[in-house]
């Protein structure tokens, strides 16, 4: 029961209740955003035959032809690059302005309309516009708001929530693969696109579940746990960046306006920069192995079906790895040091790739696929969680938009570089070695830099604590709020290793509130 003094203030992230319903919506939404482009790979050959185009003629039409060249693997690589990275920043700006729910519902509507109109296309160009642009844009609008709203509804259980929501991708992938095959066999590609358009409208349902959580900035007397206080104090701001800027609209130039929606001051944020550099490096080697797994398997003499089965193993292990990672990341021992866990996951991924050339038999490749699925799931589950942990839920919206701009180049570079290596040496192992090395490097870099970051944060926390000890009895709530906001521009992680000191400060805050 909220104490009388807090009647005007909304509580922080509920960490449950309606949050679980939101999680279901996010599961569906993220699942579609990631898995849908991949699932379309089944139709590509038929469409190519239908429109009578050869690969070279439509080479500039990227998605479809890339997918047919590399097959399922490329579609998998496109899954992330296409929707998320074309429109990442736009998505962030829209969410900052309008909130998650309208954006997802609009995105769902757009996807549906795109696929429905694709069913009536008469040329490959129209198809590319409908499927590639309209549907792709709609799916991209689904992805980020879903991740953002998880950050708003969960705090203590956020890693689990993230892990469960990201598990939507492999689950949807398996479902869509079977569904698409069934639809294609019964309705041909046009009928399938029509029905898939209707299915995509379910993203609107997911969006409808994203009830806006109207938490204003709050200093919470949530039940004191070992983990949550610092986080709860610093990160429960809803419209953080907007509130921080001056309220008057007139007299602002374009740059300031954009800065209002997309917080460029994040580039001064130490944790954000570390995350950015580490991830940019990691993505150079992240997707290429998936793209080339099936071709590599065929190259070693394995038949088509068994090669496809390897990818299925990957997806199934991935499906279970993500929630599991979420649970582990949420535990008491890992959560304060979640950045280390993330770096470990990346380095583990790299180690798998480095060992892959040693696996030349089918059994070896199965083992490799399982470990790869595990590592891939671990990294994906924590991809957004670590960013949230570093910058906090308030600035996460802008952070994720900025991150996608920066990452778009390396994501697109990864598989082509791998392809060049394969063509140049005629052997797949150099590609695996390159990917493995890059990821191990990224993991090590993140590990070292985060160690440094944690120490700096501990230092700053100590400094702040000594500052507070003086005016604590005079401070009002509002002043306290402003102090927290100011400080939150410098440090992000909610859970530094200083749990005991955090608890001490929390008790002081309790004292001031109940006055």
């Amino acid at each position: 029961m909220p104490a009388p003094a807090e009647a005007g203030r909304a509580p922080g992230p509920p960490d449950g209740g309606w949050g679980w319903v939101v999680l279901v919506g996010a599961f569906v939404s993220i699942g579609f955003a990631y898995a849908f482009p991949k699932g379309l790979a089944i139709f590509f050959k038929e469409i190519q035959d239908f429109f009578g185009t050869s690969y070279s003629e439509i080479a500039w039409v990227s998605s479809i032809s890339l997918a047919t060249t590399y097959g399922a693997g490329c579609a998998q690589y496109l899954e992330v690059s296409d929707p998320q990275f074309r429109v990442g920043p736009i998505s962030s700006i829209l969410v900052n302005r309008y909130g998650s729910r309208p954006v997802v519902m609009f995105g769902g509507l757009l996807c549906g309309v795109g696929m429905i109109s694709a069913a009536f296309c008469t040329s490959i160009l129209q198809l590319y516009i409908c499927v590639g642009f309209i549907t792709g844009f709609g799916l991209a609008l689904n992805l980020q708001p879903s991740v953002i709203i998880i950050g708003k509804y969960f705090l203590k259980r956020r890693p689990i929530a993230n892990g469960l929501a990201m598990a939507g991708s492999p689950v949807m992938l398996c479902t869509l693969a079977l569904l698409n095959q069934f639809l294609f066999d019964n309705f041909g590609w046009r009928g399938s696109f029509l029905i898939l358009g209707a299915i995509l409208l379910n993203c609107c349902v997911a969006g409808a579940l994203f009830r806006p959580i109207g938490a204003r900035t709050a200093l919470v007397t949530a039940p004191v746990t070992e983990e949550g206080e610092d986080a709860v104090k610093r990160n429960i701001t809803e419209d953080g960046p907007v509130e921080n800027k001056p309220e008057e609209e007139g007299g602002k130039d374009c740059f300031e306006k954009i800065n209002q929606y997309l917080d460029f001051s994040l580039f001064k944020h130490r944790g954000f920069l570390i995350y950015l550099i580490g991830n940019v490096l990691m993505f150079l080697g992240f997707f290429a192995p998936i793209v080339f797994l099936a071709p590599y398997a065929k190259h070693t003499g394995i038949d088509d079906y068994s090669a496809a089965f390897l990818l299925s193993i990957l997806a199934i292990v991935d499906m279970f790895a993500r929630p599991l990672t979420g649970i582990i990341a949420n535990s008491r021992w890992v959560r304060p040091r979640i950045q280390y866990f993330f770096s470990f996951a990346i380095a583990f991924n790299g180690a798998c790739h480095l060992l892959c050339p040693l696996a030349s038999s089918y059994t070896g490749l199965i083992v490799y696929s399982s470990f790869f699925g595990l590592a891939f799931g671990m990294v994906c589950a924590m991809l957004f969680e670590t960013l949230m942990d570093l910058v906090g839920a308030a600035r996460f919206t802008s952070a994720v938009g900025l991150v996608t701009i920066a990452e778009c180049c390396t994501i697109l570079l990864g598989p082509p570089i791998g392809g060049i290596l394969i063509d140049a040496f005629g052997d797949y192992k150099y590609m695996f070695i390159k990917c493995g090395t890059v990821m191990v490097l990224a993991g090590t870099f993140l590990f070292i830099m985060n160690y440094y970051n944690y120490r700096m944060l501990a230092k700053e926390e100590k400094e702040r604590k000594t500052k507070e000890e003086d005016p604590k009895s005079v401070r009002t709530e509002n002043e306290g709020k402003k102090n927290w906001n100011k400080d939150s521009t410098q440090d992000g992680p909610e859970l530094e290793p200083l749990r005991e000191k955090g608890e001490g400060v929390q008790k002081e805050m309790n004292g001031t509130i109940e006055v």
Binding site: P4, D49, F50, G52, S54, Y55, S56, A59, W60, S62, S65, L66, T69, Y70, G71, C74, R86, P89, D185, N186, F187, G188, R190, G191, S192, L194, I195, G197, A198, I199, L201, N202, C204, V205, A208, L209, R211, C254, F255, I258, L262, F264, F292, P295, K298, H299, G301, D303, D304, I405, C408, C409, L412, L413, P415, P416, G419, I420, I422, D423
Partner: protein
């Protein structure tokens, strides 16, 4: 400033997209390689093909008489099956022979197998053929295939304590098509594509009229049927302005020197109502769910406000 930053990134994006697509032209998964792989029916068989034979098509296509001297210009292809010495079902291999050629078939025994010094016989049907032994563990027959009667199954039988055998099926190249029905809609067009690895002399398309095969050629209206030659080895039939009467079975036939190969397509023409029913059902489901969610939200908000008013009242008391 942000706008140019976006512009630069977009520009880079497009450039990379172009780079991707041009690079992926040199994909390691060449279609030729994958179809070769798919020809391997048994794990133990190995194919060695010499480079020359694929170009035999146009050159040899014109000759109907086969003067003896011409045999020297035949291309040679060699095929081998590796036997492990484990008795069981005979290992098989399909050898496509598009045009008259010299074919070398070899049965090779694995050095680690238990079979020692077997007695080897090569047979076609019941007829024994003479063979040579190039190495202690391999036995080869050299065939000159110039007529379709010479195609068939050639087997090598190794007998000592156990008997193992392998079979080479020499046949006209197969056509790749669609085994599953081609599904199209009224008013749309249907496309059927036939593809082989080798270049046939001629392509013919047939449609079934009752039980008869009727050749689709220039006689039939050009605005209904279009036959397009995408390359020497790929041929496509387009059936335009579909209606329900167009459904049925279509055949594509590729004529080689030594015979012809056929592929069957089943065409199904659906009306637009077929997918429309599930479509409407799903859209209705979406609409109902969204409305329910919003109504529930409004309802619970009202309930919440009523509860809060009560709380304020109790506090004042």
């Amino acid at each position: 400033m942000p706008a140019t930053f976006y512009g630069r990134c977009l520009g880079r994006l497009l450039l990379l997209l172009l780079l991707c697509t041009s690079v992926s032209g040199g994909s390691p998964t060449d279609p030729a390689m994958t179809t070769q792989d798919s020809n391997q029916t048994e794990v133990n068989s190995v194919t060695k093909m010499q480079a020359g034979h694929e170009s035999s098509g146009p050159g040899v296509a014109t000759e109907k008489l086969k003067p003896a001297g011409k045999e020297n210009s035949y291309n040679v292809s060699a095929h081998e099956i590796l036997l492990s010495g484990v008795s069981g079902a005979p290992l098989e291999k399909n050898v496509p022979v598009p045009s008259p050629a010299k074919v070398e078939l070899t049965c090779k025994l694995d050095e680690n197998s238990n079979l020692k010094n077997p007695q080897v016989t090569w047979k076609k049907g019941n007829e024994t053929i003479s063979h040579t032994s190039k190495t202690p563990n391999s036995w080869t027959v050299q065939l000159t295939i110039s007529e379709s009667s010479q195609l068939g199954s050639y087997s090598c039988i190794l007998k000592s304590e156990k008997e193992v055998s392998a079979v080479f099926h020499l046949q006209v190249p197969k056509i790749e098509g669609k085994e599953k029905p081609v599904i199209t809609y009224e008013g749309d067009r249907a496309v059927m594509v036939c593809k082989t690895e080798y270049n046939p002399k001629a392509w013919t398309w047939y449609m079934t009229n009752g039980t008869e095969l009727v050749a689709i050629d220039k006689i039939l209206p050009i605005d209904k049927f279009q036959i397009k030659r995408q390359s020497a080895s790929v041929n496509r039939l387009e059936v335009l302005k579909l209606s329900k009467e167009d459904r049925g079975v279509y055949w594509c036939e590729a004529a080689f020197d030594l015979g012809s190969a056929k592929m069957r397509f089943e065409l199904r023409v659906l009306s637009i109502m077929a997918p429309l029913k599930p479509f409407v059902a799903i859209v209705a489901e979406v609409a109902i769910l969204v409305t329910t969610i919003f109504l529930y939200e409004v309802y619970s908000k009202r309930k919440g406000k009523g509860g809060e008013k009560e709380l304020d009242q109790t506090e004042r008391l």
